[in-house]
């Protein structure tokens, strides 16, 4: 059977502190996954859009840039990815 600890035990604070760190790392992992899923979905959209555009007879500009910016957003989050894309669009 796993062992028990209780408040007041010498180990309690140390375990709680380790647990807090672990929980933080799990939250960070979850956030990274959600950000990666967003990028993945945009890649899916980009590929599908290209097919649709061909089918409907028009050409989409900036679709590669769209995927690239979203790839960068994986590291910094969706909002910053959009901001970066907007800044680049305004660049002369």
């Amino acid at each position: 059977m796993p062992r028990d600890i209780a408040p007041g035990d010498a180990e309690w604070d140390e375990v709680a502190s380790r647990l807090a760190n672990f929980m933080e790392s799990m939250t960070a992992s979850d956030k990274r996954r959600i950000a990666a899923d967003e990028i993945s979905f945009r890649r899916f959209c980009a590929h599908a859009m290209q097919h649709i555009a061909n089918f409907l007879g028009f050409t989409l500009k900036n679709i590669d840039e769209f995927v690239r910016d979203m790839g960068w957003a994986l590291k910094s989050g969706w909002q910053q990815g959009i901001e970066r894309a907007q800044v680049k669009r305004l660049r002369p």
Binding site: V15, M26, S29, S40, F44, L56
Partner: protein, 282 residues
């Protein structure tokens, strides 16, 4: 990735502003067709490899159904040549995945040879593979040999879609009795053994896979320990444009449900105390 429609709107909004030459009518049609494509995308497909009893089912339940057993699986009709193991549709709370449940290696040479043929046939067709190993198993050489052969016969991309999942780390040395029940965490000694085991896997499999650090995850399905990292890596090993489908159906069992509420309250109090202290200092 539970609200693909709102992401779809964001994605189209961005492209729309960058493509003023596309008419409103064309955009309306494009949006409609794109939504249809997203709806109709085939369910994610996972190969699950491992010896009997390593915890393959509990791993799938822990990642895709909040840790709750699914009462039955719907077997899929085999369209290709029959494979060893089971092929079934698994429907969790958030959707369906297709699972190829395949035997692990290390029973005997003849069986390993058959299993290897199954991997060659199946792995190229799945989005991601989870190879479940029971920690601290050291029977790794058959896996090394299989990876080397897979790389040669099927290409490196097939090997690079495998996540090596070392389950049951709650039982790792010095044993289950060392697991700290209230925190639902390994003791320091177990943590150290887990790191050693992870290094052992890294050294054994590192030369066969491109991203060994990311491809090896130690966890416990029944204790729900480190599942977020396992799910993250499962997504990271899927094709770029298909990982979101896994995210859409992911329903990772909450590890905190098995933690003593007094510990969670202690942490919350401490965090609030730190914030109040920081505010006072400011």
């Amino acid at each position: 990735m539970n609200d693909s429609r709102s992401y779809l709107t964001k994605a189209i909004g961005w492209l729309r502003s960058n493509n003023p030459h596309v008419t409103e009518e064309q955009w309306a049609k494009t949006e409609e067709m794109l939504a249809k494509k997203a709806e109709e995308a085939s369910p994610p497909t996972i190969a699950l490899i491992g010896l009997t009893g390593v915890g393959k089912s509990s791993t799938i339940n822990a990642l895709f159904n909040s840790g709750v057993n699914v009462s039955h699986h719907r077997p899929c009709t085999q369209t290709a040549q029959a494979i060893e193991g089971d092929l079934y549709e698994y429907t969790g709370r958030r959707g369906t995945i297709v699972v190829y449940d395949m035997p692990g290696l290390g029973e005997n040479l003849a069986a390993d040879e058959r299993h290897y043929a199954t991997y060659c046939q199946t792995l190229p067709n799945v989005d991601v593979a989870i190879w479940v190993i029971e920690a601290p198993s050291r029977t790794i050489s058959p896996i090394e040999v299989a990876l080397r052969r897979l790389r040669r016969h099927c290409g490196p991309e097939v090997v690079d879609k495998i996540v090596f999942a070392a389950n049951k780390i709650d039982r790792i040395h010095p044993g289950e009795s060392a697991w700290i029940k209230q925190a639902n965490m390994p003791s320091l000694e177990q943590k150290e053994t887990t790191e050693l085991y992870s290094n052992f896997l890294f050294e054994s499999l590192g030369s066969e896979v491109s991203r060994p650090k990311d491809s090896i995850v130690c966890y416990s399905a029944t204790r729900r320990y480190n599942l977020e990292v396992l799910m993250e890596q499962v997504g990271a090993h899927a094709p770029d444009d298909r990982a979101w489908l896994l995210g859409k159906v992911a329903d990772v069992a909450d590890f905190k449900e098995l933690v003593d509420p007094r510990l969670l309250a202690w942490i919350q109090q401490k965090q609030h105390g730190d914030i109040r202290g920081a505010n006072r200092d400011a």
